[in-house]
Each structure stands twice: as C-alpha cells, then as structure tokens.
C-alpha cells in the first residue's frame, strides 16, 4: 500500500469503518511508515481535543420549562388527566399539526422564539366535513402557486410530482409555502367532486397523531399512520427525506392505494 492510498483510508480506519481486509493492509503500512502513523495520530488527537471540551451544566429549571411547554405537571409522579375532547377532534388536529407548525412559522416569521408555541390552526373540518369544492388553502397558508415541476425545484426534499395520483385523481393546483429546507408543498388532486390534498415537507418535522387517535397500517414494508375523520381519511408517513400527509379520500383502501403509488414512486427514484 502506498502512502497516498493509506492517507485516503485514514479517516475510515480511525472511525472503525474500514473493511477488515483493507484494515490489515493499512495496519501493516502504518507499522512501517512514521509519516502516515503521525497523520492518524493527528486525526485521533483532534477527536480527543473536542471530546475533552467542557460542557456547561444543564440548568436545573430546564425540565420545568419543557413540562410547561408540554402542559404536563413539572413534578414527576403525576399523570396528566385524560382529555375530554372526543378522539376524533384530537386526532384531526394532531394529524395536521405539521400544517399548524408551518402556519405559525409562515404567519409570524422566524423571529426569536424562546418558549415559543406554534399557533395551532384547527383544520379538523377537513376531516370532519371533507374538503370543500372551493378549497383554497392559499389565503390561509400564504402559499404561492407553482407548477408541480417548478415546486420541486424550490425545495430541498424530494417531491412526488406526478400529475396523476390514482383512479382518476388529477393534480389541479400546487402551491409552495416558503422556502428551502423549511418549505411545504401542497398539491390538490380532484376526481369529479372528490378532492384530496397532499402535503409534502421535510421528514424531520415531528408529526404527532396523539395517543389513541391513529391506526398503524402496513403498505408494503412501510408503516403508515392513518386517521379516520367523519368525512374522510388521512394518512401520514415518511419516505427517504420527505414526510407526506394525504387528506381527503373517503375510502380507506383508496387512500392506501394512493400511499402505495406515492411511496413506490419515491422508492424508484435514485437519491
């Protein structure tokens, strides 16, 4: 092994990520090459230096602040009382919490946020009453219309960009809510009088469906959260770097077929 080959593998070696067969060859080289051995020592010394940096102690009131944000008792040992709202309301609000988070962010901008609570916009009517014929979330979310093929250029995550969903559902309009890694893409699909809306967003946005409000379903090998409203169903899941929520179908199986189509489309794409 040459020094150049050795140097290109030093990080992998130091991190324990080198395949065993190359590890031995590199070890042999290091045993007889002081220059390469010195470079390895430098990599390790850098890691040691950062690990030895002191960390300030966690402030004593941090848990109390978190508990306050969560609305739970700060003193461990008490159990939060059960909510009195019916499960559907809790589920429908929670299912769309990602929209609420974004709405809060879009409406108020990325300002200072100590103890900030995102504004919750109750979109449960979409689950309880269905999506209205004149559905237009643009005003509500301050989204900007963008063709599907342009929308995907404006975000950092991968987007399902096909104009056809399943069984006659066709994309009618697509909007993008603000920018870069915090964007959300909203596409409305219609089939005659039937509507559904797909929201796509970065997968790292935590989406909560509450406790008893969700049903887990398997689509292929993918686990999907399902919520049943009075008027329609919603599904939420993640694929690669994208989180996806579809709201609107009245039929559970139809929704699962949508999930399968979108998911397969993502899996077929190369990153």
């Amino acid at each position: 092994m040459t020094c150049a080959e050795c140097e290109s593998l030093l990080d992998l070696f130091a991190d324990g990520e080198l395949a065993p067969e190359r590890k031995q060859a590199l070890s042999d080289h290091l045993a007889g090459c002081s220059q390469c051995a010195e470079k390895l020592a430098g990599i390790r010394a850098l890691g040691d230096a950062v690990r030895q940096l002191p960390v300030p102690v966690v402030t004593a009131d941090l848990w109390e602040r978190i508990a306050k944000d969560l609305g739970t008792p700060a003193i461990a040992g008490k159990v939060r009382p059960k909510r009195t709202a019916d499960w559907l309301r809790v589920a429908s609000v929670a299912a769309l919490v990602l929209i609420a988070v974004y709405t809060g962010w879009l409406a108020f901008g990325p300002g200072p946020r100590r103890n900030h609570q995102p504004e919750v916009v109750d979109l449960s009517p979409m689950l309880e009453k269905g999506i209205p014929v004149n559905f237009n979330a643009g005003d509500e979310f301050k989204f900007v219309a963008a063709p599907l093929d342009q929308a995907k250029q404006q975000v950092t995550f991968r987007v399902f960009d096909q104009p056809q969903l399943t069984e006659g559902y066709t994309a009618q309009q697509c909007r993008v809510g603000c920018c870069g890694p915090r964007a959300i893409v909203q596409t409305e699909y219609r089939r005659d009088q039937d509507h559904c809306v797909m929201f796509q967003y970065p997968r790292d946005l935590p989406v909560s469906f509450g406790v008893a409000a969700t049903e887990q379903a398997k689509v292929g090998n993918k686990s999907v959260n399902l919520v049943q409203g009075k008027a329609c169903w919603a599904a939420s899941w993640q694929v690669n770097g994208t989180g996806i929520t579809i709201v609107g179908p009245r039929d559970r199986d139809e929704l699962l077929r949508m999930v399968a189509k979108v998911d397969q489309s993502f899996e077929r794409k190369t990153p």
């Binding site: 990080d11 850098l46 230096a49 848990w63 461990a76 159990v79 990325p110 770097g241 990153p271």
Partner: protein
C-alpha cells in the same frame, strides 16, 4: 431498543409525566452536549428545550424503525440548524469562565478555547457530522440516518471537516 426504553416511550406517549421525565433524564446530557457544540453555550438550553418539546410532541409517530437516539439526534440537529438560521449569527465560542479551571492550566484553557473557535468556524452541517462521529460516537450509517444523506457522503464530509479544523488550528498556532 431495550424493553425498559420501549416501556418508557409507550408510557410517555400516554402522557405519563414520570416516564417523560425519565426519558428526559436519560437523554438530556447527549442533546445538551450536542447543542453546546453546535450553537454555543448561551443558546444551548433553548435548543435543548425545543428539541425535547418536539420530541415529546412527535413521540406518537416514532415508529421504532430507527433507534430512538438516532431519531432524537435528528430532531436535535434540525433544531440546531433552525436556531442558527433564525438567529443569523455565528456560534458563540464557550466563554473562558465556563471552562473547567479546576484541573487546567492557562495553556489548556487556551487550547480548549482554540478548539471551540475552530469548531465555530466550521460549516454547520460539517460540524454536525464531525460531532456526531467524534463526540456522540455514531457510525457512518447512523449519521447518514440522522442527516438524511448517503453513507458515502458522511465519510467524505468527515474528511473535509477534519481537514478544515486542522487547517484552522495550524494557522492559529502558527501565528
């Protein structure tokens, strides 16, 4: 995942405060340590707070396909990156008074300050990769999972991060 952790998560999802507190106690050290390195000591508590609030709110959707700590790191890194964008200011180096003076000479304090400065000069995503590997001990595969990038990219980015850190330190020490 251990049965104890699974039990804690299930109880925390149900809103049981003792289980939430136990989860917090178990992971706050890791999250806070990462936050200190990523955003600086003065903002680390806020970032840690937001990370746990988001974690608990999203706990119902945690599906167990990734490890819990990997999932939590993902939230924490994202929160650090968001914090930087919101605040639009560079990471604050650790003030000297926060350094442990009990067993350190002036020389070691200066060295620690220099290393912290070098970290703060690093691109934030490179910094996250470097810290997840060197301080948190994650494998390339786990880092790729946290950041949503290919495993091969982790190696090349780590190499770049180390080269930039070395370069900065050499320039400073050469002055």
């Amino acid at each position: 995942m251990t049965s104890r952790l699974r039990d804690l998560i299930e109880r925390a999802v149900k809103g049981e405060s003792p289980a939430q507190k136990a989860l917090y106690d178990e992971f706050v050290g890791k999250v806070h340590r990462l936050a200190v390195r990523m955003v600086g000591g003065s903002d680390a508590a806020d970032v840690t707070q937001q990370t746990f609030v988001k974690m608990f709110r999203g706990l119902g959707s945690f599906q167990g396909s990734a490890s819990f700590s990997t999932w939590l790191y993902r939230i924490a890194v994202n929160e650090c990156l968001q914090h930087r964008r919101r605040e639009r200011r560079p990471t604050q180096a650790l003030p000297a008074e926060l350094l442990d003076k009990s067993n350190g000479s002036l020389r070691s304090l200066e060295a620690a300050d220099l290393v912290q400065q070098a970290l703060s000069k690093l691109d934030e995503k490179l910094r996250a990769i470097f810290l997840l590997r060197e301080v948190e001990g994650l494998s390339y595969e786990q880092i790729a999972e946290v950041l949503g990038i290919p495993t091969g990219t982790v190696g090349s980015q780590l190499n770049r991060a180390r080269a930039e850190l070395r370069g900065y330190l050499q320039r400073q020490m050469g002055e």
